[in-house]
């Protein structure tokens, strides 16, 4: 993208006629520019409204009574019913679901990043027989439908007594996050200079030590992007826990909420359900707004590579 940085100085010197002809064309161009501006703002606002509205509606609804939800879905709540929130947190087990999710995502994220970068480092920096094969084995996992493997996986987990346990879920999350993590980190390690690692090694550091003390710190930007990517993916995971983790007390947030929707539907506690929904929504939205740049970089880096 160097071209954008260099030209301004020369172009003004090189192309004076352009500057002269521009004002003549300006009035017409200006008018179309204005119409276009109104047109584009119109569409952009409409979509912003369509994205934000359901979310604001959910927040509003979470403060209403059940009666209000049904009688006037679009009206503001007459008073803020915080009891919906406390009821959801304690009685509807949202606190447990949160805790489970934090445990599962915390450990899987740690495991994914550690194992993923270890494998990626070896694959990126060392030549050995089978290197390419292992690399393609890993990245092949990115495009195949998870659901196909889930049926036998269910029975593998059962045989290992890992079904319906949090450690089991953690291991599965790590397994399914590895393809992309290895793919991304391998290309990242390849871009790092080799000289530093070689110097460390010559100075007597072992390979392991070189990796942890020299290479990992150097790979920090890549690690951050991919950690965010994995965090969102694992925090929002629904399919894997639905199939592999049906023990009521082990449920994670997403399944807990769906379960809540089914049971509250019968009990009629819609306000509690909305409170739970918003409760699950707000932490990620808040984290996104605060770490916006990193989140976008992390996710788009994921899609672009």
């Amino acid at each position: 993208m160097k071209t954008t940085d260099t030209p301004p100085a020369d172009t003004t010197g090189e192309r004076p006629p352009v500057a002269k002809t521009a004002p003549a064309a300006a009035p017409k161009e200006k008018a179309t520019g204005r119409t276009l501006n109104v047109f584009s703002h119109g569409f952009l606002i409409l979509w912003a409204f369509m994205v934000a509205m359901p979310l604001l509606w959910a927040v509003m609804t979470s403060f209403k009574t059940d009666k209000e939800i049904f009688s006037s879905p679009w009206a503001l709540p007459d008073s803020l019913h915080f009891d919906n929130w406390s009821r959801a947190w304690t009685e509807a087990n949202m606190s447990d679901y949160f805790l489970n999710t934090i445990i599962v995502v915390g450990f899987s994220l740690l495991g994914t990043m550690l194992l993923g970068s270890m494998a990626a480092y070896v694959l990126a920096r060392f030549e050995f027989p089978g290197n390419r094969f292992i690399y393609f084995l890993f990245i092949g996992g990115m495009s195949f439908p998870i659901i196909l493997a889930l049926v036998p996986l269910f029975y593998v987990m059962q045989n290992l007594s890992l079904l319906n346990t949090l450690p089991g879920l953690i291991l599965v999350y790590i397994g399914y996050s590895l393809p992309f993590t290895v793919f991304f980190m391998t290309s990242f390690f390849r871009t790092l200079p080799t000289s530093v690692a070689e110097a460390a090694f010559v100075d007597g550091a072992s390979h392991t030590r070189t990796f942890f003390q020299v290479m990992l710190p150097m790979a920090k930007p890549g690690l951050i992007s991919i950690t965010i990517f994995n965090f969102l993916g694992q925090w929002n995971q629904y399919l894997l826990p639905t199939v592999l983790n049906t023990e009521p007390e082990n449920k994670v947030l997403t399944q807990g909420l769906v379960q809540l929707a089914v049971s509250q539907g019968y009990k009629g506690d819609w306000s509690g359900l909305f409170a739970g929904l918003v409760m699950a929504m707000l932490p990620v939205l808040a984290a996104y707004i605060v770490f916006q740049r990193q989140v976008v970089q992390g996710l788009t880096a994921g899609a672009l590579k």
Binding site: A52, I147, L150
Partner: protein, 307 residues
């Protein structure tokens, strides 16, 4: 760097490969093997039945419906999502009022739009599905009450309960979730296209629509192509499963009107105890996915443009 090299390599690869092999690769290979058996999943006994499961697929009406819906999603979802995203991203980057010397400018507040548009991307698909389930509720949902409020009381569709509408409701939710991400992605791509290209084209008398098709789209083509593959895999996989499973009633919507391949795999395996048949449907899903990726690669192949 030879000293202890192999010991190090083995040490670093063992754990990742073991986990990946045991929980991803091994089940994946097994599933293809199981598709040739009559395994129920409930008992450990089974025998080989050859292609029986595959011939059963041919007469399975629900399978064809699921396939049809999945194919419809994989064709239309990328088309609609990416077109909308390109449109919004172009508006954000080029739709602004002329400022001083710049021939083209982004709209004011484009950063704000990008932040809002990205919201659905960070939410779990399960949360989104639940939220829209309420919005679509025919009696007290947000959408029908809104229609009532603006005087359209006679128009009160049964959204998810109507076999003709249900799949389109699902489709709309998937579009809602996905567009924002690509607006941000394409917008970043467009911002890196040198401004002089547009200036030159506009001075030559091209209008903005022409500049979009002649400059923006060709230079962005690689990103569009990988986006195409990404949305397609999403439409065939876990996302469409979650939306259909959570939002629609009964076994994949009224009269199977919303059922999709991943949901049908799930139902056969974990509800009906037909694990072998489920893996067969899964293999069909794998074929659809591979076919789709191959088509995208083939159609998307263009000369690479450097700038």
């Amino acid at each position: 760097m030879q000293h202890g090299k192999y010991r190090f390599i083995v040490g670093f690869l063992t754990a990742p490969l073991a986990i990946y092999g045991l929980f991803v690769i091994w089940p994946f290979i097994q599933s293809i093997y199981y598709s040739f058996t009559d395994w129920s999943g409930l008992s450990p006994e089974f025998k080989m039945v050859g292609f029986k499961n595959y011939t059963r697929l041919l007469d399975d009406e629900v399978f064809w419906k699921s396939l049809q819906h999945s194919v419809m999603l994989v064709v239309l979802l990328p088309l609609v999502t990416l077109t909308m995203a390109l449109f919004f991203a172009f508006m954000l980057n080029v739709g602004g009022r002329r400022r001083k010397n710049a021939a083209i400018a982004g709209v004011r507040g484009s950063a704000f739009y990008k932040v809002v548009y990205f919201f659905p991307q960070v939410l779990s698909i399960a949360i989104v599905a639940l939220l829209f389930q309420f919005a679509y509720n025919p009696n007290s949902g947000a959408i029908n009450s809104f229609l009532k409020a603006i005087g359209l009381e006679s128009v009160q569709p049964d959204w998810l309960g109507d076999p003709d509408l249900a799949l389109w409701c699902i489709f709309a939710v998937l579009v809602w979730c996905t567009v924002g991400f690509f607006v941000v992605l394409f917008s970043a791509g467009m911002a890196s296209i040198p401004k002089d290209y547009y200036e030159a084209a506009l001075l030559d008398g091209a209008n903005r629509i022409t500049t979009f098709f002649r400059i923006t789209l060709p230079l962005l083509w690689d990103t569009v192509q990988s986006g195409w593959a990404y949305v397609g895999i999403l439409a065939l996989g876990a996302e469409s499963f979650a939306v259909v499973q959570i939002m629609t009633v009964g076994p994949g919507g009224p009269d199977y009107s919303t059922t999709v391949l991943p949901l049908y795999v799930y139902q056969k395996a974990f509800r009906d105890g037909q694990a072998a048949y489920a893996t067969t449907i899964g293999v069909a899903l794998l074929f659809v996915t591979l076919l789709f990726v191959a088509v995208v690669m083939k159609l998307g192949r263009r000369e690479r443009l450097e700038y």
